[in-house]
Amino acid sequence: MSDVSILKEPWPRLDVQRDGSLFGLWVFLASELLFFGALFLTYAVCRIQNPEGFLLAARETNVVFGALNTAILMTSSLTIAVASYAAAEGDKALRPVMMRCFAITVMLAVAFLVVKGFEYAEDIEKHLVPGPDFALEERGAELFFALYWTITGVHGIHLLIGIGLIVRLWLLARMNQLTLEKNPEVEAATLYWHLVDIVWIFVFPLLYLSGRAL
């Protein structure tokens, strides 16, 4: 397929299209920063008001699962960065590398969700779900876990969306319905993926590392 199929209205040239798409993507990512920022701010306010409760509650999260998931997501950022490079180079010889790296990225993200599933199951068994059966009595512990479920849940939904984006690109390329080489859609999906990684990089210390030194 030629470059013509990638160039879309209203862009006059590919490089201008790339600049425009990346700028637009970054405006969206800035809005996502505010979205998660609001969640982190809620965490900050509740923690300021309930310091002991938060630290004691944070000890109940599974730091092994959390650290493992952080490493998994970081590795997926590595593989998607390589895939994005392979796409940008436009060299057909790099296509197997690109497709394989996209596949590994998705598999790592699924692994993240599987670990999360085990973690959620353990949390439910330990009665760490806010409600009448909540296990901890300190003021603020239930608030911590309300935030834990909300933040990790919303992050998981974002990860699912990212998986959907990459799977779509992979399938369309597989069926030769979309040229991934030099396609701004690939860079856009990659940037979104890195943002999901960045969000988790901040989630990890706030939800998993707090209170460990008590």
């Binding site: 590919l14 490089d15 790339r18 600049d19 990346l22 700028f23 970054w26 405006v27 990512l29 800035a30 809005s31 920063l33 505010l34 920022g37 609001a38 701010l41 900050a44 306010v45 300021i48 008001q49 309930n50 310091p51 730091v63 650290a67 952080t70 490493a71 970081m74 590795t75 950022s77 590595l78 960065a81 390589v82 490079y85 392979a86 940008a88 180079e89 060299d91 790099l94 590398v97 990659t190 940037l191 890195h194 990684d197 960045i198 990089i201 901040f202 990890f204 210390p205 706030l206 590392l209 707090s210 460990r212 030194a213 008590l214």
Partner: protein, 115 residues
Amino acid sequence: MTGDAYREELRHGNGLRHVFRRNAAIWAAMLALLLLSLGIAYVPLGAMNTPIALCIAMVMAGLVAGMFMELSGSRWLRGFTAFSGVVFVLVMFGLTLADVLTREGGWTGLAPIAP
């Protein structure tokens, strides 16, 4: 053609191997920072534990944004957009904490309920 310094550099080098090595080095640095933050979390540093963990997180995020997301060396408008997102998050934090931290009853007091 692309106008981005990093992409231009790749064109002249041994592309794929260079990209693997560069990105793997960044990944290794992030893994080291992850292990560091894990280790420090168990050292009793009082109130400093969380700020230190967040600083390490900021370095890791900076590596992802600057290197994986190719903000460093790219056109200024993208970096400016990312920066303005951060600025608005700081404004949000600043305005909210200006309320919460100056409430009567102190930080840990619950807000008084109006009669």
